[in-house]
Symmetry: C2
Subunit: 407 residues, 2 copies
C-alpha cells in the first residue's frame, strides 16, 4: 500500500457550447483533470472522483518538486489502497467555476476580454455532471465502474445516478444530503455576505483592482470550518485551552487555542481560494435538490436510477447528518434499488469523510471489491466499441470533438 507517486495534471478543452441550467451558455471551456492507474482493454474499470467545495482534480499522488502536495483523498486512493489504482483507472476533475485550472471567474470572458469575475455564470451540480460526462466521452469511457464523492461530491455522484443511469455501475455518496437544510443555506449565506460586503471585493471584479477580499474569505472559511468539525472533536482538540499562560483580557488578541486555529485556517484559505469561486460553489450546494421537480418527492426523483448505491454517513456530522443520508437510502429502497448503507461511528464531524478511519475505509474497500467483480463481469458481458480516447498530456488542450453522448 503506497502512494501513486508523482502525478501530472492535464487539461481538456471543449469547443462545443454548454447550455447551463441558469439559461446562460458557455461558448467554450476547459476542464483540468488527473488520472491514475490504467484503463483496461474493456474500458470497464474507470472511477470518477468528484470534489467538494474547496478541492480539485488533484485527488491523489504528489507533484514533482512540491513538498506536501498530496492529493486531497490520497489516504483512500493509490496502489493497494481502498480505491486501488492497481485495479482501477481513477479520474479526478476540477469543476467549472472552480479556481484550480478549469474555466472559472479568474479567466477571461471571451465576450468582454476582461476576467469574468462575478459575471461568471452560476453553475449547478447538473451542469458539472454534464461536463464530467463530456470528459468521459472524450476519454472513451462509455460507462463508469463507479462515481464517488463526499459532501458536495456525493451530490454529483447522486446526480450521475439520476440523470446518466446507464453510465455508471455504482454510485458512492459519502457524508452527503438530498439537499441543503435551511440551516446549511444560512451558513452559506453568511459566508457569502462576508465576502460580498468586503470593500476589496469590488462587486466581484477585484482582479482588476489588484485587491483580494481576504477579510471576507477569512470569515467565510472560519464559519465553514466550525461546521466541518463536530462539537465534540473541537472540545477534545481545543477545549478552553488558552494560547498564553493566563487570560489577557483582550477582545482582539487571541486568547483561546481554538481562535488561533480558526484564524490560521482563515488566513491560509484566503491566500489560495478565489472569492468568486466561493460564492459560486456555495450556490451549487444551495441549489441541489433533485426532489424539487418531483413535488418534493425524493422517491420519484430516483425512479429512473439503475446502478448500485453505497451510502456512508458519520455519526457526529451535524452539517450533513446521518438522518439526511437515511432520507436517500429510504428513497432508493422505495425504488427497490440495490443499496448498502454504513453509518460510521466517528468523532470528527463532517471532516470524517476526508480522514483515514479504518472502519470507513474498510466499507469502501469492500464496496470497490464488489465494483471490481461487477466490472470484470461487465467487461466480459458487454464488450463494446468505445470511442478512442484523445491522447493528452499536461499543457495540451485538445479540442473536444462534437458528438458527446448523454445516454
Amino acid at each position: 500500500m503506497g502512494s501513486i507517486g508523482h502525478v501530472t495534471p492535464q487539461a481538456m478543452h471543449f469547443a462545443q457550447p454548454l447550455a447551463l441550467r441558469s439559461g446562460a451558455r458557455l461558448s467554450e471551456y476547459t476542464l483540468a483533470y488527473e488520472t491514475y492507474g490504467t484503463l483496461n482493454a474493456e474500458r470497464s474499470n474507470a472511477v470518477l472522483v468528484c470534489h467538494a467545495l474547496n478541492a480539485s482534480h488533484h485527488v491523489a499522488g504528489t507533484y514533482a518538486g512540491q513538498a506536501r502536495s498530496e492529493g486531497w483523498w490520497d489516504n483512500l486512493i493509490g496502489p493497494g489502497k481502498s480505491l486501488d489504482t492497481d485495479r482501477f483507472f481513477v479520474i479526478g476533475v476540477n469543476n467549472l467555476g472552480s479556481c484550480f485550472g478549469s474555466t472559472g471567474p479568474m479567466h477571461t470572458n471571451p465576450a468582454t476580454g476582461r476576467a469574468w469575475g462575478a459575471d461568471f455564470p452560476v453553475v449547478t451540480v447538473e451542469d458539472w455532471v454534464d461536463t464530467q460526462a463530456r470528459l468521459m466521452d472524450a476519454l472513451g469511457i462509455a460507462r463508469l465502474a463507479a462515481v464517488i464523492g463526499g459532501s458536495l461530491g456525493g451530490m454529483q455522484a447522486l446526480d450521475w445516478a439520476l440523470r446518466y443511469p446507464e453510465r455508471l455501475r455504482c454510485c458512492i455518496a459519502v457524508a452527503t444530503a438530498p439537499n441543503l437544510s435551511a440551516q446549511n443555506i444560512a451558513f452559506n449565506e453568511v459566508a457569502r455576505r462576508a465576502i460580498v460586503t468586503d470593500p476589496d471585493f469590488h462587486g466581484g471584479h477585484f482582479y482588476e483592482h489588484g485587491t483580494l477580499p481576504r477579510r471576507g474569505l477569512r470569515v467565510a472559511r472560519m464559519i465553514g470550518h466550525i461546521t466541518y468539525l463536530s462539537d465534540d472533536a473541537m472540545e477534545e482538540k481545543f477545549g478552553r485551552e488558552l494560547k498564553g499562560d493566563a487570560i489577557g483580557y483582550s477582545t482582539q488578541e487571541i486568547e483561546f487555542q481554538i481562535e488561533a486555529y480558526l484564524r490560521h485556517q482563515g488566513d491560509k484559505f484566503s491566500e489560495y481560494f478565489d472569492a468568486n469561486t466561493y460564492l459560486l460553489i456555495t450556490r451549487v450546494l444551495d441549489y441541489f435538490d433533485p426532489a424539487r421537480e418531483h413535488g418534493g418527492d425524493l422517491t420519484r426523483a430516483f425512479a429512473g436510477a439503475k446502478c448500485k448505491f453505497q451510502l456512508v454517513s458519520f455519526t457526529t456530522d451535524w452539517r450533513f447528518s446521518p438522518a439526511r443520508s437515511r432520507e436517500i437510502v429510504k428513497a432508493l429502497l422505495d425504488n427497490r434499488l440495490d443499496v448498502s448503507y454504513a453509518e460510521i461511528e466517528a468523532p470528527h464531524g463532517h471532516d470524517a469523510f476526508l480522514l483515514d478511519d479504518a472502519r470507513y475505509h474498510a466499507v469502501l474497500r469492500a464496496c470497490f471489491d464488489n465494483v471490481a467483480a461487477d466490472s470484470r463481469d461487465a467487461g466480459r458481458a458487454e464488450p463494446r466499441a468505445a470511442p478512442k480516447p484523445a491522447r493528452l498530456s499536461s499543457g495540451d488542450r485538445p479540442t473536444y470533438p462534437s458528438g458527446e453522448g448523454q445516454s
Copy 2:
C-alpha cells in the same frame, strides 16, 4: 394578567472606583436600570433580572409614546404573570460596557476626553455582578428573593450564588452553561473578526470617524442568529422556500427565504447595536468559567453556594444544550444543594428562553410561588435594618456612597 404599562428607565451613578478582574479600574460609572412593582416593608421581595448579549434593563412594560417598546421579557413579567409584579419588586439592570445607557464604549473616557471605543476595559460576569450588588446596596436590598437570567443572564445568576451566597434566596438559571464550549467560543470569534476587520471599525474608534462597522455587525448577527435557532425550527419556518417564484441563479441576490430573514436580522441589529459592546460582551461569555480556579472542578466551585436553584434547559438548544445544564445540576447535587431542574421539550432552540412556552412559564410560575412563600417566611424570620434606598428618578444620577457590601 396584563402589562405593567408604561415604565421609566432610571440611572444610578457610582463615584467609587471599581476594580475589574482584568486589573483595570473604572474611576466612576453609571448603571441604567428599571424597577417594576413595589418593594415590601421587609425588603424581601426583590428579584433581579440579568440580561444576555444584546438586551438591556428594559425587561418589561412599554415606554410612553413608543410603539412596540415592550421589554424583552415582557411575556414573563407583569401583574399576574409568572414573575408577578403584584408580588415582586423586579429590577432590570443594563450591564457595564453595554450600549443602552450604562457606561460603555460610546461614553467619554475621563482620562482622554475621547470616547472609550475599543479602549473600554474588558469586563467579566464577576465585574457585572459586583456592580449589580452595589446597585442592590443603593436600593436598600440586602438580600434578593431571586436572581434570574437566561443564557449569559443565567451565568450572572450563577455567579451571584457563587460569590454572594448570603444575598439571594433563589438562583434561576435558564438555558445556560457552566462555561462556553470550544464551538461556542469559535462562533464568537468569527463574529468578532467580522467586526474588527471591517474597515469602518477603525480599530474601535469609529465614532470619531463618523462611521459604523455595519458590515461586520451584520455578519456577526447573522452568525449569532443561526445559533439561536434550532435546525428544526429553521427548517419548519423557512425550509427551502424561495423568495421569488423561481430560482434566479444569483450569488448575491436573495434566493431563499432564510436568506431574507437573516439579512433583515443583520440589518436591524447593525442599526442599534454598538460594535465595541458586541466585542466586549462576547468576551464576557468566553471568560466565564467558575470551575477554572478550582482546577476545572465545578463541584468545588459551588461548594460555598447556599441558595435554592432552579435550572431550565430546552431540548433543541444546541448553543447551550441540556447537557450543559445537567453539568451544573450535578455539581449542585454533589454539594447537597436544593435544586430543581426542568428540561423543556421545545422546538425553538436557544431562543426558547425568550418565548412564551406554557410548560416553561408554568415551571417558573411554580418556582416564583415557592420563592414568594420563602420570602414571606424570611420577611418574618429576619427583620433587619436595611440601608435606606436613595430616591431615584429618570435623569437623576445620585452619587453612590461608599460602603457597599460584598458579603
